[in-house]
């Protein structure tokens, strides 16, 4: 197995162009599981951990630009105020040891429907930055996933990072699993309220890819349009309809972690809960922290 360790981003793009079958390696927390068990036998590994620019984040216009190599631990400690749902999800990824290594960029690269970073990125309207020697492009997160563990990433492309606007209102992430640490979520959900503007959602582990609940977003945005200012209690039927629309957007399957029916049920509960929490935060005028 060839081992490539570029020290600059330009070298990394050159290496990926020369060896398109090289498997990119960041924290290694997904890749190494497959390598240790012989499920992945890559001809080459492209180690991206020696590239300093991947480990940085900075404001860029009205968005935040976060490098693909920023670990979950750093998303929690450095960006919880600006990307609260992503930070909340990051706090629950794997274990503390995993969070010291794993990255949201790597999560995108693996493109698992169960990736914890995906629902908050979807809800937050994030874009993925892809780059190759041919040039750079940005893809909306909902267009990035192409199927289970598949994305629109071309063989010569690498994930440079992602861009997301800092939260303008409450955001929440919630998931269900057999225990908090080191299990793959049975189902997860993220909600972002953008007062005066709209609503974002993200569903995890309940379809071939992470999904947005478009109809639920549209319905809730309509219901909230004249309530953002009033900050009055949300009627139960509004919360219930939102939960139904979220569950309806999912395309779950039966598998070892849960049945499709159970996943739909869980999504209703998570949608109701996160909306109740987020709206209460909005009514209190707080910024919302999960």
């Amino acid at each position: 197995m060839r081992f490539l360790r570029p020290h600059t981003w330009a070298e990394a793009l050159g290496a990926k162009a020369e060896f398109p079958d090289a498997l990119p390696l960041m924290g290694g927390t997904d890749v190494m599981v497959d390598v240790n068990f012989g499920r992945a036998r890559p001809n080459a590994l492209l180690d991206l951990t020696a590239i300093p620019e991947l480990r940085t984040w900075a404001p860029d216009g009205d968005a935040l630009r976060v490098g693909a190599g920023v670990t979950y631990a750093r998303l929690v400690s450095e960006l919880a105020d600006r990307l609260p749902a992503l930070a909340a999800a990051s706090r629950t990824v794997g274990s503390p040891q995993i969070r010291n290594r794993g990255t949201a960029g790597g999560n995108l690269g693996s493109a698992s429907p169960a990736g914890d970073a995906h629902p908050p990125l979807l809800a937050g309207g994030a874009e993925v930055e892809l780059e190759s020697v041919r040039g750079a492009r940005r893809v909306a997160v909902e267009e990035f996933f192409a199927g289970p563990k598949r994305s629109v990433l071309e063989p010569d492309e690498l994930i440079a990072g992602f861009r997301a606007r800092p939260a303008t209102g409450p955001q929440y992430f919630a998931k269900v699993g057999t225990r908090n640490a080191m299990v793959i979520a049975v189902c997860s959900f993220a909600l972002a309220l953008r007062p005066g503007e709209g609503v974002g959602t993200g569903i995890g582990s309940a379809g071939p890819t992470p999904l947005r609940a478009y109809a639920a977003e549209e319905f809730l945005a309509g219901e909230l349009a004249d309530r953002w200012e009033k900050r009055d209690a949300l009627p139960g039927p509004v919360i219930g309809e939102f939960a139904e629309l979220v569950a309806g957007a999912a395309r779950p399957i039966d598998d070892v972690r849960g049945t499709a029916d159970y996943r739909a049920h869980v999504l209703r509960v998570l949608a109701r809960r996160t909306l109740t929490w987020a709206w209460a935060d909005h009514c209190e005028g707080g910024a919302g922290c999960a």
Partner: protein, 188 residues
């Protein structure tokens, strides 16, 4: 960039040439600088155990679920089974063997003995390295999933916090109550 040589003159027959399977790595392990040639596919855990004879870190699951292989990599706790050895060039690794100064036990080791924080002991090296990393994280004010006030820069390590922060380390004997007590004692 460290691209290994292609093996054939001019690289014309790249597909036929075998890329080098091993790479030179210089790494500090428990304060001693080691220069070793490692298999590109080997995990840090295998290199520590098989090449360097440091069998403290244990292979429980080999996929990051059990935490028995936890070591400190540049001061942060990681699963050594999920680290490709070839990626630790120029890094600093501390294993359970490096927690003592040779004569005195680390306070966590002493507390584990005092509090009877193990039965079979298989998970203990990982528990100890994880606890060292955990206390360092808490000292930096890092919040956990159960920290109520995220702005608090000095989270109190009560039982719930210790259990959450140590959730990456399994103990099949179920010595958790005493592990939590031992760590709580050192955390103050």
């Amino acid at each position: 960039m460290d691209v290994p040589s292609k093996g054939t003159a001019g690289g014309a027959q790249r597909t036929a040439a075998r890329p080098p399977a091993r790479t030179d790595v210089t790494v500090s392990v428990n304060g001693a600088v080691e220069r070793i040639k490692v298999d590109n596919r080997a995990s840090l855990l295998d290199v520590l155990r098989e090449r360097l004879g440091l069998t403290g870190a244990k292979k429980g699951c080999d996929h990051g679920q059990c935490g028995a292989c936890t070591v400190l990599l540049d001061g942060r706790r990681v699963n050594a089974c999920l680290i490709l050895a070839v990626t630790v060039d120029q890094a600093e690794v501390v294993t359970v063997e490096g927690l003592t100064d040779g004569t005195r036990l680390h306070p966590l080791q002493a507390a584990f003995i005092e509090r009877d924080a193990f039965q079979c002991g298989y998970c203990t090296p990982g528990q100890l390295c994880s606890a060292v990393g955990m206390l360092a994280e808490a000292a930096k004010g890092r919040a956990s999933a159960v920290t109520a006030d995220l702005a608090d820069d000095a989270p109190v390590l009560d039982e719930a916090e210790i259990r959450e922060r140590m959730s990456g380390n399994l103990c099949r004997c179920g010595a958790y109550p005493n592990i939590v007590a031992a760590i709580g004692e050192v955390a103050g």
